[in-house]
Every structure is written in C-alpha cells, then in structure tokens.
Amino acid sequence: METLTSDPNVQGALRVEVAVELAVELAVEVAKGDGRVARRERSRAAVLDAVVDLFDAGNTEPAVEDVSNLSGVSSRSIYRYFHHRDELVRAAMWHLKARIELHMLLADIGMGSLDERIDSFVKHRLSMFTVLAPITRAARRSAHSLDLSSEEFGAGQLVLRQQFLDHFALELSTLSGQALTRAVVAAELAFQFDSFEFLHTSLEENIDEMGDLLGRQLRIHLGGLR
C-alpha cells in the first residue's frame, strides 16, 4: 500500500508532475471557464473528511489508497492537493478543529448554583472528551512532530478558558491579577486533554468516576473562593 511519502526525491518528482498537471489544468480552465475551483474545494474537503474519519477509526497512518477509497477522490488528486504527509495531517487537524468547535458550545453559561454549574461544566467537558478522544489521540500520534497544540489549537483553548471564566464568574469575581491567574490555572489543571487521558487510564475508563473526581476537584478549588 502506498503511504504518503516524506522522501524528498519522491516529493520532488511529484512536484514536477503536479506542476505540469496544474499548468495543463489552468490552460483548460481558462479555455472553458467552468467551476473547477469549486470542485477542487469540494474534493479537498472530502479528502480531509476521510482522513479525520480514518483517525476516528484508529488508523493513525492512513494510506493514500484508504483516503482515496473513502473520499472517492483519486490518489493522483490527493497528491496534487497535499504534497506530503505532514501537509495533509496539518490540514486535517484544521478540519478537525472546525468539528471540535461545534462541540465547544456550553449551554446556560453562568446559570444556576455553584453545584449545578460544576455539574453542567463537568458533564460538558466529559462529553467533549468522549466524542473527541479517539480522533485527537490518532491525530496527535500521527502529527507529534508538527507541534500542533501550540499554534492551531491556541485559539480553541482560549475559547474553553473564556467559557470557564464566564461560567464561574461569580466565584472568580473576588480575585484579580496574579491570584486570579493562579486560581484559574489550578482549577483548569484537571481539564487538560492529557489530564483526562490520565484520569481515563487511572480510573480504568470509568466515565462516572471521572465525573465524580472532576466535580470534586472543582468544588475544592472554587468552593473556598466565596
């Protein structure tokens, strides 16, 4: 099976081939003036959907053939859109981010008693984790060299932090400056993806126990603030 290559020679050869193909395509496009750009966008999205689905199914090293079969886009076109593996994985992570953002919305922000808000917060983050864990694991394994967490996912983390600040604004309003930063970091430690992974393993994948533990953590950290 053909895997996306990172061999510079093969890449070089592919690039030349792609350049020729693009030139021909451009000439045809100019001549015909049809919707090739739109079709290209659709195929590109189909390819990325397929990669994300393969990640989701636990396939960390998707072969071009698999991606092609699943997306219905030819291997040749896949190579045309993405010159090498890193580029495809990176693009797939962006694509995944769009999916994650759908799950990021937390209903009833700031509503209810502290206990109710802790419960809704924990429930929301746990459901995000259950939905996104397999995909995130696979993408990370396959993209560990790309340092994705810092750049692409910085924005997502900011959204999640803001959610935390808004949901517990009442308790956090007593703090400012360094004390606020410290309280937020302390409370958020348990809610990092790797912390969830740690809890998941330590508690033998028992999601209810994870919820109990996370709720208790938040109660200990936020309970003393007001």
Partner: protein, 207 residues
C-alpha cells in the same frame, strides 16, 4: 630475532587506531545528540548532530543506519548517565505540610532535570514499545514513592477510594501538567511549587 618479528605488526596497529577513532566518533555523535536534546531540540536532524560532533554525516549513518536508531541510542546513553539522579529518596517524617513541601520540591527538581529527556522519550514512546515500557515503569515507581510518603493519609482507605484519592492527588504532579504550567503558562519554579503544594495539601486534607 629477525627484524620483521621485532617490528610491531603494522596491519594490526592500523586496525587498532581505526577502531579507537571509530569508538571516539561514535561517542562524540551520541554526546552531541544528548547536548542538543538538553538544549530543547526534541528530535535533532542527523546532519545537525554530525556537524555538532564534527563527524561526517556519512560516518553517522555508518554507526546508525537510521535517525531513529541514533536518537534511541542517545536516549539510552542519557538514561544511563542520569540513572544516579533517579534513585528514590526515602520518605521523610513530619507534619503534612512539611512532607507536602518536601515532596513537591523533589518532584520539581526531577522535572527540571529530566524534562528534555522525557520530551524525547514521549515522542519515541509513540512508536517504540521498549522506550514506552521504560517510562511506564518510571511512572510506576514515582507513584509508589508518593504512596509511601503519604501512607498516613492514604492508608485507611478502601481500595476504590484509595485509587480515586491517589489519582486526584497525583494529578498535578504529572509531567504534562508541569509542562503546561511552565511552558504553557510561563510559571517559574516558585510559582509551580506554590500551586502544587496548595493542591496536594487541599486534596490530602480533604481525605
């Protein structure tokens, strides 16, 4: 005695010299890789390691046919060199806060010494079961040290509660959270110490 026998065997001495140089270069390559790890380069490029060691890339590939083999050999050597610092400290006596402060100080010192090594190990561990095993057994012994130091607090719990309490209390001592605090949030050693001491103390007191 004939003159030939008095002379050192030329072929042999040449071989000796070559083997000697080969060993020196081999060591220089590994040491260069280790230096680059500790400067923050997680998986350095073979050409860069060669340049740093003042050895040709060709020779490096002769010693280590792939980059993975080079990185793994350097990581193993580094682990051996650092092994003395990994010896477990015996638990200390004292009230809870004293023990918590001491223990957190130990863990932070360990983090600042081993962070570059752990970063390399985590990346390699994704594909190398042996490396993963080494790090997992390290994690287990760290857990045991924790349990020994806080036996007073943990000792009376039933099994499932014990697991929950251990998990909750040791959470902020995990490598990824040290990284999150230090690299992600820009906390220095003092701020990290304050935060984990507070966390640990709260959780142990809640038992």
């Amino acid at each position: 005695m004939t003159p030939e026998l008095m002379e050192p065997a030329p072929a042999e001495s040449r071989t000796d010299g070559r083997i000697g140089r080969r060993l020196r270069n081999h060591d220089a390559v590994l040491e260069a890789a280790i230096k680059m790890f500790s400067e923050g380069e997680v998986i350095p490029a073979v050409d860069d390691v060669a340049k740093r060691a003042a050895v040709s890339s060709r020779s490096v590939y002769r010693y280590f046919p792939t980059r993975d083999e080079l990185i793994r050999a350097a990581l193993e050597r580094w682990l051996l060199q650092q092994a003395p610092y990994l010896v477990a400290q015996p638990p200390i006596e004292g009230d809870r806060l004293t023990r918590v402060e001491y223990f957190c100080g130990q863990r932070l010192a360990l983090y600042f010494r081993f962070a570059p090594l752990a970063r390399v190990g985590l990346v390699l561990g994704e594909t190398d079961p042996l490396v993963r095993e080494i790090f997992e057994s390290g994690r287990d012994s760290l857990r045991e040290q924790f349990a020994a130091q806080f036996a007073t607090e943990l000792g009376l719990l039933a099994h499932r509660d014990w697991v929950m309490a251990m998990t909750a209390a040791t959470l902020p001592l995990q490598f990824h959270l040290f990284e999150y605090m230090h690299v992600g949030c820009g906390f220095d050693a003092t701020q990290m110490h304050e935060l984990i001491v507070e966390h640990l103390h709260l959780h142990l007191s809640a038992l």
